[in-house]
Symmetry: D2
Subunit: 474 residues, 4 copies
C-alpha cells in the first residue's frame, strides 16, 4: 500500500562509514538505498579527524546534495540520515544528523527510532537548565552524554544509553570515534558491514549492496560498537531483553533486497503471501495483483501458492519529490489519478485478488477497490499479508492514534463493508510469525507484535507520545 | 533492461487536449504518464483561442514545470511533448512542441517518430531559402505547410504530409484548430480518447487512464483528425500501406498499462514470456527473475509457464533526474552499483533464469550476469523475450548503428560467451508475433520487424540518418 | 530616474569576441558590464571553429549562467546579448543571440536596435514561404542573408543589410567568421576594442574596461567589419547618412564610465547639469540632489555650477532580479518604499533641487516629489537634464506611445502642476547638444533628437511599430 | 573602500516588529534595508501568539526567502537577522535568529555584536552540562536565561544580561513577548520606531524609512524594552557606562540614509570629508573622486570644501550574490576587473584626489592606486576620512588581527610607499570626532575609538577572541 497516503509512515534510516577516503560520496549512495525510509530530509556529517562538518537539507537525497556540497565535506568518516517526519517551517532544525559543538570537541548523532521516556528525560534535563533546539528525542542523548561524569567518551555514551527506554539505532560520531548502539529490545534494524578496511553500518543491508560492501551481521540488541583508530570493539551496555524486532519492517517498511537478522525481506514477504493463500483457500478468483511496491512480493507468493496468474493490475505513477504539482481536488474528482492507476485490460471482467500489506485507516483500500471496480473488475477480494493493526506504535512508525486505526474499532466484516471489497482476509499472527521465520526460539521468534496484540515490549509512560505528536508539541 | 545504459532509447511521447478548461494542468499529468518515453526535455503549448504560448525546458517533467508556469499558460487546448534525445548546449531549441510565428497566426507542432527523407527535404527547402532553428525533422513539416498554396489550413497540412516518408505521430495546433496525423505505416502508436466534452490524444493510453479519460481508438495509419469548434472530422490523407506498428513498443518501449491497437502491453509481454518458456524447455533452473522494469511482465509469464518460482533477484535503484551525482569510475570499480542491485539471498547458490527484453550491445547483459554470479548464482540462464536485433531502426528508436548491435556480427553462442551466461535463448520472430497477437491478418499481424529482419516498411535513402546522428550533424 | 517604473526602457546590449581562449568567460563579464541595458534575458553563442553552441535564459546574467554552463561552450569566439523586453511565456524564443542551423553551417545573430521596415520585410518573406520563430526583427536579417544569391558569406550579409532600414548594431557569427555592422545613421552605439590578439566589440566601452581590453574606436555608421582568420577588414556597405547617434544614450541609457564616439558619458552628463544650472539661475534653493543612478552626474554638475551643496537626498534600494518579492499594493500604500527612499535629515526643511534626466509619463516624478515633501522638504524644484520628450522612439528605446508621453500633451506648467513641483525646468535642446559636445560639425553635432523634435532621421512607415508592440503582435 | 576584499567586514543587522498583520513580509523588507550589514545568511522567526516558526538560509535575503516561505510563517510579530560571517559547511546552524524549544515554550534570539567574555561563560556553562549547537556567542544568552531562577521571563533575561560583557543589540522573542536590549556601552546601534500600532526595532533607521515607519529614538545603553500585549515598558537593567558608539558605523558601516543617535550618516561623512580637506590644504590636484559606495559622501564633502570638481573616477561593478562566477586568477591577471573599474577619461592626465574611508591591510588601496595610474592619472593623492586603524575590534567588526592592520606596524610614509600613492593623509581623531558631532558632552562625544587609540571601553580578557576566530574554534 502507499505509505504516503495513509499515515503508516516509515521512520528514518541511518548510515555510517569509518575509515574510507570518500565517506561523503558513499554516504550519499547509502542514503539513496535508504531513501524509502525517509523522504523529507537528509544529512551527512563528516569527520576529517579534526572537525565535523555537515551538509543537510529538506527534501529527497537528490535535492539536498550536489557534487560541490559533497566535496566541501571531505574526510575519513561519516554518519548520515534520511528523515521522514515533516516539520513545517522549523524543519531544518530537525534534520539529522544533529551536530553539537563544545570547547572539548564536536559531537554528532543520527537516530532511527523513538524513545518512550523522552518527554520525562527532557523535563528532567530542562529543570537542570538544558535547552533544546529541535523537537527530536535525539537531543536528549546529547545532553545525557554531556552531563555524564564518566570517562572516556565511550563510557559517557554507555552511561547515557542506560537511561533511554524505547526504540533506537544510534550512530554517534566525534572527530575520532564512531559509536554504534542498538536498543536492548532490538526494535529497529541495524546492520554492520565491511568495505575493504572500512566499517559500515546501516539501517538496512541494501545500503551495503549498493556500495559493494559485504554484510557482516546485525548489531545485537543492547550492543554498542566502539570504532576508532584502534579498530572495532563490541560492548554489551545493557543486558538483552526478549528480542523484539518490529514485524512491520518485514511486512512493508524494509526494501525487499534487505536482509534483517539474516532473513531476506522479499523471501519473507513471499512466504507471507503463500501463508495467506493457505489461509484463504476459499476465495475463487481469476487473477492476483499486488499493490505496488511493498505488496508485490506477497502477491507473487500468493499467486504461486494458489496457481492463479499473477498480473500487473495496478501501476504506480512515480511522481517524485516535493516539486510535483498535486492535482486540485476538482481535478482529482474528475478522475486524475494520484499514486496508482488500474490496468483495465487486466482486471476487466475478472475476479481479482488484491494483495496488500496492511490496512491503517481503510481510506486507501476503499479507493483502490473502487478504482478496480470502476475499471471493470467483477469481484475484488482484498487479502492482507499481516494481521489487523489495532494498536499504535510508539517505536518509530508513525501510525495514527488508536482511533484512526480502523481495525481498533471495526470488525473484519465491517472493514470489508467500509472498503467495498467482496471479501477481506487478514493473515493470522501465527501465519505471519511463521512466515518470517526468524531463527530465534523465544516467544514470537523475537518479533515485536505490539500493533497487532498490544503486547508492548517496553513500558509505555503517561507522557509517551507518538512520533507525529512531537510536531504538535512545538 | 535499462534503456539508459545501452543505447536503446525511447523516442518521445506526445499528448494533446482540445476544449478543456485546464489544458496545461492535464497536459502536465499526461506528460507524467509518458515520462518513460523521454526524459531530456518537456514542453506544453497552450492555445487560448487567440494566441499560442509555450513553457518548455530541459529535464524531467517535474523539473520543467511549476504551478506558476502552468498558470501562465491558461487556455482551452494544448499540445505537449516529452523528448528523449540529449542535445548539449543547444538543447532548448530542440525541445518540443516547436512554435512558429507569422503575421497570419502562430503554429505549433509536436512530433514522435523519425522521418527517413528529412535530409533531402531540408536540402530542398534550404535551396528555396528556408532557415532551420533546430536539428529536428519537425521543422520540415512547418516549412512545407507554410509553402503549401492550398487552403484552408487543414488542406495545407494534408498537402505537406504527403511529402513526408517515415514514422510520425504529429500534433499540429493553431489558435483554433488541432490536427492529429499518423504516418501511413502506423509505425509509432497514437491513440484518441474522450474526457467529457474534450478530445484527447496521446502516444499511449496510459496517459488517458491517469487523467480519467476513456480510450476511444487508435488513430489509423494515414489518418488525419481535424478538431476545431465544429467538432472532429477524420480524413484519410494517404492510402494505408501494410500496417507496420513497431514491435519494440510491445517488447519494451510502452508502459505495461497501455493498450496499443487494443492489445494490453503487459499481457502481450507476459505471453511473450510464456512463449519464450515454451521455446526453451530444456533449461533446468531454480528461480526466474526479470530485469526491472520492462522485463517484469515477461518474467512473470515465463515463471508461470515453467512453474519455476518468480523472485525479485534484481532491484532497481531509482536514481532519478539530471541532478543525480554519478559515481566516479573509481567508485564504480570498487563496487558502487548503478541502476541495479542483485538480491543475494534470492540468487545465492541458485540456477537463475534472467529474463530480459532485448540485447543491444551486450555490455549491460554482461554486467548483470556478472553481478548475479558475484552474488552467488550457480548458473545464469539469459532468456530474451524478443529476437536478436540485427539492424538499426530509422523510425525513432535510437539504437546504435549496425556495428554496435552485437547480434549483427556475433552468433548467439558468441553472444552467450561475451555476456558470460550459462545459456542464452532469444524468442523466435514467430513466437513474438504470435504472442503479441494483434488483430490483423496481414503479414506479421501488422508489425514492423525491421530491426530483426531488415525488412524495412519504407524506403531508406542514402541520406537517411539515425536519430542520434542528428546531434552530430549540427 | 527609474527606468523600471516609467516605460523608458533600455534596449539590449551586444558583446562579441574573436580569437581568444576564453570567449564564454569574457562574454559573461562583458554582459555583466552591459547588464544595465537589459535585464530580462541573456545569451552567449560560442564558436569552436566547427560548431556553434548556445547557452541562453531568462533573467539576469547571474541567473542564466553558471560555471558548468560556461564550460560546456568552450571555443575561440563568441557573440553575446542582454535583452530588455519581457515576452511572457514564449520568452525564451526571443532571447538572443538567435541561432540558425542549415546543412551548409550554422549562423548566429545578436541585435541591438529596432528596424522600421521589419514588418513589411516580414510580410514579404512570409509570402515567399519564410517561417518565423521569434517576434524579433532579428530573424528578418537571417532570412535575407539566406535568400541572398551572392557569395561569399560576407557579401550575402552586405546584400541583406542594404534592405534594412532603422537602428541596429549587429553581430553575426558563423563557425569561422564574425561580422559586425552598424546602421548607416549610427543610431545605436557600437565600439571596437582589442584584448591582446583578440578583437572585441561591444555596445559600450565599459565592457572593454571591465575585461581589461583597450578601446580602439567606434564602428562607423554604415561600416561593416569582417573578422576571420585572415584578420579584420572594414567595408563600407552603405554610404553614410547624416550621423544620428541617439542623444538619450548620453542622457541616461549608457553607463557613466562608457565613452560614446570619444565622449565620456559621465562628463557629458555633468556638462548637461552645468548647462541646466545656467538655464535656471532663477531658482533659489538650499541643496541639490540627483535621482540615482542615472542623474547623479548631472546633479553633481548642477551643484558645482550653482555652488549649492550636493547631497544624497534619495537612496536607491538595490532590489535585484526576478526573485525579489514585490510589496503588495496594500503594503505599498502603507508606505513600503520601492526603488527609492528619501533621506529625511538631508531634505527636511530644505529647498531642494531634484535633478532628473528625463520625464516620460510623469508618474515617477510625481511620486518622488511627494516622497521628498513627505520627508519634510520645504520646496522641491525639479530640473531635467534633457528637453521635453514629445515623440516616441522607433529606434529601440521602449518609450510609450505618444499619448503616454506627458510632454506631448501638456505644457511645462501643466506638467509642473501634475508632478506637484514648486518649479520645473527642462534643459534646452541647444543646451543639451552643446553639452554633449560631439566632435562633428553637421547638424545637431551628429545626434538623433527625434524624441524631442520629431525630426526622425529615417522614414517611418505605416506599419512601423514600437518595440513593446511586438509582444502584442504575437 | 570595498569591505569584501579587505577583511573589514560588517557584522550583522537585526530587525524586529511587534503587533502587525504582516510581520514576515515587513521583516523581509527590513532585512533588505539592512542587507549591507550581512550577506552570508538571513532568517526570520515569527510568532503567531502560540508557536515560533523560522525560515532561514545561507545567502542574500532574496536567495533565502520566497513568497511561499513567507506565507508559511504568518503571525503577528517577528524578529529577523542578516549575518555576515561565513561558516563553511556548518553554516546553517549559525544563521540567526536562533530558535530554542522547551516544554515551557520556545525562545528565539537575534544578536548584533560580539561578547568579550563569551568564551569564559561558555566554559562555565559547559562545565554545568550545557551543549552548544552553534559557534555563536548568542547561545550563551539562551543558556543563561534558561538557568536563571528568576521570574517572570523578563527578569530572567535581565538577570542573564548582567553577566554579559561586550557589544550587543539583542532581540529576544517568546510567543508572547519581545525583549530588546542594548549593551551598557551602546557599542552597536539599535533604534526604536513606530508603524501605526506596531513597534519596530532595527540596527539602522533606514529599515524604518523603507517600510514607512517613523523613527522614535535610539535604545539607550543599558536599556531593555519589554514589549507585550500590555504595551511597551522600558527598564534600565544596567547602569550606563560612558557611551561608546562605534565610530566606524559613521565612517563606513551604516547606510548613508540612516541616522545614528540623531546624526545622519551621510551628513557626518560629508563633514568628515570637509574636515579632511581642511587638514590637507597642501595637496594640489585637479579632480576629487571617492571609492564607492561608502566613501562617496566624504568625497563630496572634500570636493565642496576644496572647490575641486567631484567626478566619478571609479565605477563599482555590482556583482551580487553567491552565484557570481569569480574570474580565475589568470583572467584577473590579464585585466578582468573585480569590484571597481576606473573611468579613463575622467582620470587621464589628471592629478586625482582619491577619497577612501579607511585602510586596513593596504592591499586594496594599492590595487586602486595602481588602477588609477594605469588609467593615466598623473598623480594619485589618497586621503582617508578616518584615522589610522592600529588595533583590532573585539566588538563585532571583523578587522583582522593587529598584525594585519598595516597602520599597526608602518608609519604613514611607509604606508604611502606601500600603496604607491603620491601622498597619503588620514583624518585626525579630533577631526573625525568633531565632524561626527554627536550631541554628548562626555569624552569623545560618546564614541568608541578603540581601533584608533587602543582605548577599549570594556575589559578584554585573555580568552576574548575576534569574530573570525570563532569559525576556527569549531
Amino acid at each position: 500500500m502507499l505509505a504516503e497516503i495513509r499515515g503508516l509512515n516509515e521512520e528514518c534510516g541511518v548510515f555510517g562509514i569509518w575509515n574510507h577516503p570518500n565517506p561523503a560520496q558513499l554516504s550519499y549512495y547509502g542514503l539513496h538505498a535508504l531513501q524509502h525510509r525517509g523522504q523529507e530530509g537528509a544529512g551527512i556529517v563528516v569527520s576529517d579527524g579534526k572537525h565535523l562538518r555537515a551538509v543537510k537539507g529538506e527534501g529527497l537525497v537528490n535535492d539536498v546534495f550536489n557534487e560541490e556540497k559533497l566535496k566541501s565535506i571531505e574526510g575519513t568518516s561519516a554518519i548520515a540520515h534520511v528523515r521522514y517526519t515533516t516539520a513545517g517551517g522549523a524543519g531544518i532544525e530537525n534534520v539529522q544528523p544533529l551536530l553539537f559543538h563544545s570547547s572539548t570537541g564536536s559531537l554528532s548523532i543520527a537516530h532511527n527510532g523513538n524513545l518512550v521516556n523522552a518527554n520525562r528525560l527532557k523535563k528532567y534535563l530542562e529543570r537542570q537548565g538544558s535547552i533544546f533546539h529541535s523537537s527530536s528525542d535525539t537531543e536528549v542523548l546529547a545532553h545525557l552524554i554531556k552531563k555524564s561524569t564518566h570517562a572516556p567518551f565511550s563510557e559517557k555514551v554507555k552511561n547515557a544509553l542506560t537511561l533511554l527506554e524505547g526504540a533506537y539505532s544510534f550512530l554517534i560520531m566525534t572527530k575520532d570515534e564512531l559509536i554504534v548502539a542498538r536498543d536492548r529490545h532490538g526494535l529497529r534494524p541495524l546492520a554492520l558491514g565491511k568495505l575493504g578496511d572500512a566499517y559500515v553500518v546501516a539501517s538496512e543491508t541494501c545500503a551495503f549492496d549498493l556500495i559493494g560492501a559485504e554484510t557482516v551481521r546485525s548489531i545485537e540488541p543492547g550492543e554498542m560498537l566502539i570504532i576508532n583508530e584502534e579498530g572495532m570493539r563490541s560492548v554489551r551496555y545493557q543486558e538483552e531483553q526478549t528480542r523484539s524486532m518490529c514485524a512491520m519492517e518485514y511486512v512493508y517498511l524494509a526494501r525487499p533486497d534487505s536482509d534483517i537478522d539474516g532473513i531476506n525481506v522479499h523471501m519473507a514477504r513471499k512466504r507471507m503471501g503463500k501463508a495467506l493463500a493457505k489461509e484463504c483457500m476459499h476465495i475463487e478468483a481469476d487473477v492476483v495483483t499486488g499493490v505496488p511496491d511493498s505488496s508485490i512480493s506477497a502477491a507473487i507468493g500468493f499467486a504461486e501458492e494458489t496457481g492463479l496468474p499473477y498480473e500487473l493490475g495496478l501501476i504506480k505513477n512515480r511522481y517524485v519529490g516535493r516539486t510535483f504539482i498535486q492535482p486540485t481536488q476538482e481535478l482529482r474528482e474528475r478522475g486524475v489519478k494520484m499514486k496508482l492507476s488500474p490496468v483495465v485490460q487486466v482486471v476487466k471482467g475478472k475476479r481479482v485478488v488484491m494483495v496488500d500489506d496492511s490496512i491503517v485507516r481503510g481510506t486507501t483500500s476503499r479507493r483502490i477497490v473502487k478504482m478496480l471496480k470502476d475499471a471493470g473488475a467483477a469481484e475484488v477480494h482484498v487479502v492482507i499479508s499481516s494481521p489487523p493493526m489495532t494498536h499504535p506504535c510508539y517505536y518509530g512508525i508513525d501510525t495514527s492514534t488508536a482511533e484512526d486505526l480502523i481495525a481498533s474499532s471495526q470488525s473484519i466484516e465491517e472493514i470489508r463493508d467500509t472498503i467495498g471489497a467482496d471479501s477481506l482476509t487478514f493473515l493470522s499472527v501465527e501465519g505471519m510469525v511463521n512466515s518470517i521465520d526468524r531463527p530465534y526460539e523465544d516467544d514470537n521468534k523475537g518479533l515485536c507484535l505490539a500493533c497487532f496484540t498490544s503486547n508492548y515490549p517496553t513500558e509505555i509512560f503517561s507522557d509517551t507520545i507518538l512520533p507525529h505528536e512531537k510536531e504538535l508539541q512545538l
